[in-house]
């Protein structure tokens, strides 16, 4: 097992009597574009919330970059290099597009409340520098023309894109995308696939993608992990996963008399 990358070791979480995720192990090596799929309620988003520290696993450990991240708070995990987007877009709605991205440089700030008050030349240089980097990011992702709009007034597709850009501003090594294609039409989905590949190419990130749309997942992922009822039932390349009987059964149902014991 290599030291870097993301490792889930037999991660389990129970909410009262409900085991939402059970003994899931997975590895996402640096630079890999991985997919996490499964039917509704399989626990995909819960896995995301476990990785990002929203929930703490009941059992098992999570490692990133060779260090345990289990039990850290979300902002500490982001500081370790894991950024995410949300299934139900969570932008800072009243802030401008520009500020949404700018605020995400937070981890790399040298200023604090004191410097905001005293406004030394170093403070101004940093502000200037951050504005520059924000503009550059917005430019790359074609959000520059709406940079002064409040985030909540953007069209849906732009909001999705802005969420990804905002996550990139934290300068992650691993980007978690929670159903980025949800609610998109086929043309937008093609755009999104290009966008994700572009990001991986340009920033040399590992990306873990939760997605329902099989075209998107099969089209771009190098490796796919499949969940069903909180358990991992398969892992492999898109071609392997497509042929896997357990996966087919999970999505389409079992032939009578052929159910595996669960």
């Amino acid at each position: 097992m290599s030291a870097s990358g993301l490792h889930l070791n037999k991660v389990t979480i129970r909410f009262g009597g409900l085991t939402a995720v059970s003994e899931v192990s997975a590895t996402v090596p640096p630079g890999e574009l991985a997919g996490l799929i499964g039917p509704n309620g399989a626990g995909k988003t819960t896995v995301f919330n476990l990785i990002t520290g929203v929930y703490t696993p009941t059992e098992g450990t999570i490692e990133f970059g060779g260090r345990a991240v289990t039990g850290l708070r979300p902002f500490e995990i982001t500081a370790r290099g894991i950024a995410r987007t949300f299934q139900n877009i969570r932008l800072f709605g009243s802030l401008s597009v520009f500020d949404n991205v700018r605020v995400a440089f937070h981890l790399h700030l040298r200023q604090g409340p004191g410097q905001s008050l005293f406004r030394s030349p170093a403070f101004h240089r940093e502000e200037h520098d951050l504005a520059e980097r924000t503009r550059e990011l917005l430019d790359i992702f074609k959000l520059d023309r709406v940079r002064n709009e409040p985030a909540r007034s953007l069209p849906y597709g732009d909001q999705r894109r802005l969420e990804i850009v905002r996550a990139l501003a934290t300068q992650p090594e691993l980007l978690l995308l929670d159903e980025p294609a949800a609610g998109m039409n086929p043309a937008e989905k093609v755009e999104l696939m290009k966008l994700i590949q572009f990001i991986q190419d340009r920033y040399k990130l590992a990306i873990l993608l939760v997605e329902h749309d099989m075209k998107v997942v099969m089209g771009i992922c190098q490796r796919i992990h499949v969940l069903e009822y909180g358990r991992k039932i398969a892992e492999g390349t898109p071609a392997e996963v497509r042929e896997n009987p357990a996966v087919i059964a999970a999505y389409l149902g079992y032939e009578p008399g052929n159910e595996p014991a669960r």
Binding site: T52, V54, R73, P74, F75, T78, A79, A83, R84, F86, R90, L91, F92, G93, S94, L95, S96, D99, R102, V103, A104, F105, H106, L107, L109, Q111, G112, P113, Q115, S116, L117, R119, F123, H124, R125, E126, E127, H128, L130, P150, R152, S153, R166, A167, A169, T170
Partner: protein, 332 residues
Amino acid sequence: MPSWLNRSQLVLVAALLAAGLAQFFSNHLDSYVLSVAMGVGINIILASSLNLINGFTGQFSLGHAGFMAVGAYTSAVLTGKLASQLNPLFGGQVHLLFPFALVVGGLVAAIAGGLVGAPSLRLKGDYLAIVTLGFGEIIKVIFQNVDYVGGAKGLNAIPDYSDLFWVFGTTSITVYTVWALLNSTYGRGFLAVADDEISAEAMGLNTTRYKMVAFVVGAFFAGVAGGLFAHLNNSINPSGFDFNKSIEIVVMVILGGMGRHTGVVLAAILLTVLTELLRRFGDYRMVIYSLLLIVLMLTRPQGLFIWPLGNTWWASLKSRWPFGTSARHPNP
């Protein structure tokens, strides 16, 4: 980069000079007008510091009068009962003792803010409001029962050290502080925390620390305002810092538009002057005041001074205004 940012500090210095100048010519002013003017300044401090907590950071606090009381009592004790011990320290100079007392009052209030905030900032919305409300009442009852500070009678014969310079100097510093804190990349974090705590955490912001900073800074200025208030009115008693006082400040913040810097300052001015103007109606004063509030809240729930961006003279004025573009967009 020689930008408008540096200009902001110049504006602060100019405001301080103006406050000094105003004090210099203040003996030409009617003492009633003078005390109303200082009341306006104190309310601006209270409202903009509460706005940092309630508006910008989105943590609904109802305990501002409590922090004000802590500052008022602390500074009044320092300039009163302890003055004889402290005076040698400052060579008997009142204009050194007074600011010292104000700052210490603010610091004690800030500590109180930290103590209340640490456990209660995990709570959200109504729950936080209830806890801070409880804190305000506890503070009131404590002062009512401590004989050293006069119990329910409160403290009297507090020296009248508050003048235009101290009040408006402090007002300028408060307005500048809130503005400067917000207008930086660090400060945008307060707004982010207010908008969505979960996603602020996910972007690497320590939301607990942000809320604490807002709470402690807000409490500090409430404490300073309390000190100014005590040395303006010459007497304080616990019931002056009750729930109603907190609500009065909350109303200024809501009327000015939660998280709108200039709007809240204007609302503080408007409401203070309004209560004075309504005095001529005697017993009907509070009735008229309440009716006005109801009408205002019904007609302008988003805040008195908020217009959709870019539609009015106000927007165009605002775009050239060095203060108060809080970067928060009004609801569509």
